[in-house]
Amino acid sequence: MKLRVNPIACEGHGICAELLPELITLDEWGYPIIDDVDVPRTLEPHARRAVADCPTLALALERSRAESGRAASRAARGR
C-alpha cells in the first residue's frame, strides 16, 4: 500500500505529518511531502489513522501498482 495526497483537497493542516513522521514531512509552506515507498506493515495502522484524521480527506492509502498487478493476475486465475 502507498499513501497519496490529493493536492487540490489538501489545505496543509499538517496532522498527517504529526501522526506519521516516519513517512510524511512538511515543506516550508506546511504541505505534506510523502515518501514514495510501500507503507511498511508495522506503520499501516498509523497510516490508516493519518488518512482518517485528515480534516479535508485529502490523504488516501492506495494499492501500489505491483500489488494491483498481483491482484489482477489472481483475479485472472479465478482465485
Binding site: N6, P7, I8, A9, C10, E11, G12, D27, E28, W29, G30, Y31, I33
Partner: protein, 434 residues
C-alpha cells in the same frame, strides 16, 4: 496485398511528398481551404481508411500526440473505447503556450483537415459528439471553424456525428486535458485530481478522447495515404513530420514543418539562418528545456537526441535567444508569468512557484544569491501538483540556471550581465502589465 487504390484512381489527389505534408496544402493568401478546395487537395475523408481499419493504420503509423506529452494515439483510442458508455471526442485547440502558434495556424488554414481527423476518430469510437475547443482570443480561427462546420453541415459529409465549437479561457492551464473537460462540463478551466482521467470519465461522464489539433490533422492524412506513407519520413521510433513554431533570432520565424530526425542545424537553415549569434535555445515551450546553442545544433529533432540533454520536443515551440539578450532577465520574467498562471489549487504550486519567481527576481537584480534556495524549491515542488504545471515550470527554471550559469554569476555580482534588457520570450498581453 492489393495495390493501393490511391495510385489507381487518377481523380484522387496523390499523397503529399517530402516533409511538407500538412503545410503543403495551405493557400498562399493564408485563407482557410473551403470544403471543395480541401477535397481537391487531400481527397475526401470518405475515401480513406475508416473505423477499425483507421485505428489499425494509426497503430502501425506510430503517430504520437503532438500537444506536448507525445502519448501514442492508438493506445489512447483503445483506452477510450474500453469504456462502457458512448465516447465523446474533444479537439484540443486551446494552445495556451505563448511561444506556440502551430495549432492556430492549422485551424485557420486547414480547418477541414482537422475536422476530418476528429470525425474519423468519432466514427472509429462510436462517438456522436465532437467538441472543438479553441481559445477565446483566437477570433480568426473561431470564424474559420464556424464556417467550416457550417459547410460540412450543408454538404452532410459527417453522417450522424455533430460538431460544436467551444470557446475556452486563455489561461495557461486551460489546455491541460482535465481542465478542458472540467470547463466543458460547466466548471472552471482548472485541472482536476486524477484518476479518473478523461479517457475513463470525461465530458458529461463519458469516456473522452482529448486530442491535439495537429495530431488529428496527421491522423486524417494517415487515413487517406496509410501508415507506410506516414513512415516514409522520420525514424523508426519517431516517425512522420511535425509542426514547429520557431521564434527569436531566426530570419524566418513562424510555423515550419519538418521530418522528425532532421538536424537542428538544417532546421535553422530552412528558417533562412540566424539573424545574430545565439546563446541558447528554449526547446518545447515554457514547459521546456534550455539547451546551449552549439549543443542543440548538433542534435536531431528527436526526443531520443534531446533526452541526452534532459530535454524533449514537447509542444515543438523553439525559441532562439540572441546572445545580446539578457537570458537571466528573460527567465525571471517568464517565471513570474508562469507562477501567476498556477490554477491556484495546490499548495506546493501556489507557494512554491511564487517563491521560485521571487528568488529568480532577486538573482536577476543581484539582491541575493538565492541559487541554493532555488535548487531546493525546484526539487521540492516538482511532481506535487494535480497537473504538471509545477513540473514544467521547474524544468524551465532549472535548465535556465544551468545553461546560463555564467550570466547568473554576473547578475549576482553586478545586478546585470551587460546584455540589453530584452523581451524575446512572449507573454500574453493581459498579464504583462502587472
Amino acid at each position: 496485398m492489393n495495390a493501393r487504390p490511391l495510385a489507381a484512381a487518377p481523380s484522387r489527389p496523390l499523397p503529399p511528398t517530402g516533409e511538407g505534408r500538412l503545410l503543403s496544402g495551405i493557400r498562399d493568401d493564408g485563407r482557410a481551404l473551403s470544403l471543395n478546395e480541401h477535397v481537391a487537395t487531400y481527397g475526401s475523408a470518405r475515401d480513406g481508411a475508416r473505423a477499425e481499419a483507421f485505428v489499425a493504420e494509426l497503430e502501425s503509423s506510430g503517430l504520437t500526440g503532438r500537444g506536448g506529452a507525445a502519448f501514442p494515439i492508438a493506445a489512447k483510442f483503445q483506452a477510450v473505447a474500453a469504456g462502457r458508455r458512448r465516447p465523446v471526442v474533444v479537439v484540443n485547440g486551446a494552445e495556451s503556450e505563448p511561444a506556440s502558434g502551430k495549432d492556430r495556424a492549422l485551424l485557420r488554414t486547414l480547418p477541414h483537415l482537422v475536422l476530418d481527423g476528429a470525425v474519423l476518430a468519432a466514427e472509429a469510437l462510436g462517438a456522436k459528439q465532437v467538441i472543438v475547443a479553441v481559445s477565446r482570443g483566437a477570433a480568426v480561427e473561431q470564424a474559420a471553424l464556424a464556417a467550416a462546420v457550417a459547410e460540412r453541415a450543408r454538404a452532410r459529409v459527417d453522417g450522424n456525428v455533430s460538431l460544436r465549437v467551444a470557446s475556452v479561457p486563455r489561461a495557461f492551464v486551460a489546455g491541460e486535458e482535465t481542465a478542458l473537460v472540467h470547463f466543458l462540463d460547466g466548471g472552471p478551466a482548472k485541472p482536476t485530481f486524477t484518476p479518473p482521467r478523461p479517457f475513463e470519465r470525461g465530458v458529461g461522464g463519458a469516456p473522452t478522447l482529448v486530442q491535439n489539433v495537429e495530431t488529428l490533422a496527421h491522423a486524417a492524412l494517415i487515413s487517406r495515404f496509410g501508415a507506410d506513407w506516414f513512415r516514409e519520413v522520420g525514424t523508426e521510433s519517431e516517425p512522420g513530420s511535425a509542426l514547429l513554431t520557431l521564434s527569436g533570432a531566426v530570419r524566418r520565424p513562424g510555423i515550419h514543418e519538418a521530418a522528425l530526425g532532421t538536424r537542428f542545424e538544417t532546421l535553422v537553415d530552412e528558417a533562412s539562418g540566424l539573424t545574430q549569434p545565439v546563446s541558447g535555445f528554449l526547446v518545447g515551450g515554457y514547459f521546456g528545456t534550455w539547451v546551449p546553442a552549439d549543443a542543440l545544433l548538433r542534435l536531431r529533432l528527436l526526443d531520443a537526441d534531446l533526452g541526452l540533454h534532459g530535454a524533449s520536443l514537447g509542444t515543438r515551440a523553439i525559441v532562439a535567444l540572441p546572445a545580446d539578450a539578457c537570458a537571466v532577465g528573460e527567465i525571471a520574467r517568464v517565471t513570474y508569468y508562469l507562477a501567476g498562471e498556477s490554477a491556484g489549487q495546490c499548495g506546493p504550486c501556489v507557494h512554491g512557484l511564487a517563491a521560485i519567481a521571487e528568488g529568480m527576481e532577486r538573482v536577476a537584480s543581484g539582491r541575493a544569491d538565492d541559487r541554493d534556495r532555488l535548487a531546493r524549491w525546484v526539487d521540492v515542488v516538482r511532481g506535487r501538483g494535480a497537473c504538471k504545471h509545477p513540473d514544467g515550470v521547474t524544468r524551465f527554471v532549472a535548465s535556465g540556471l544551468d545553461v546560463f550559469a555564467d550570466e547568473v554569476g554576473l547578475h549576482l555580482r553586478h545586478g546585470r550581465c551587460g546584455a540589453r534588457p530584452s523581451a524575446v520570450l512572449p507573454i500574453p498581453r493581459e498579464v504583462r502589465n502587472e
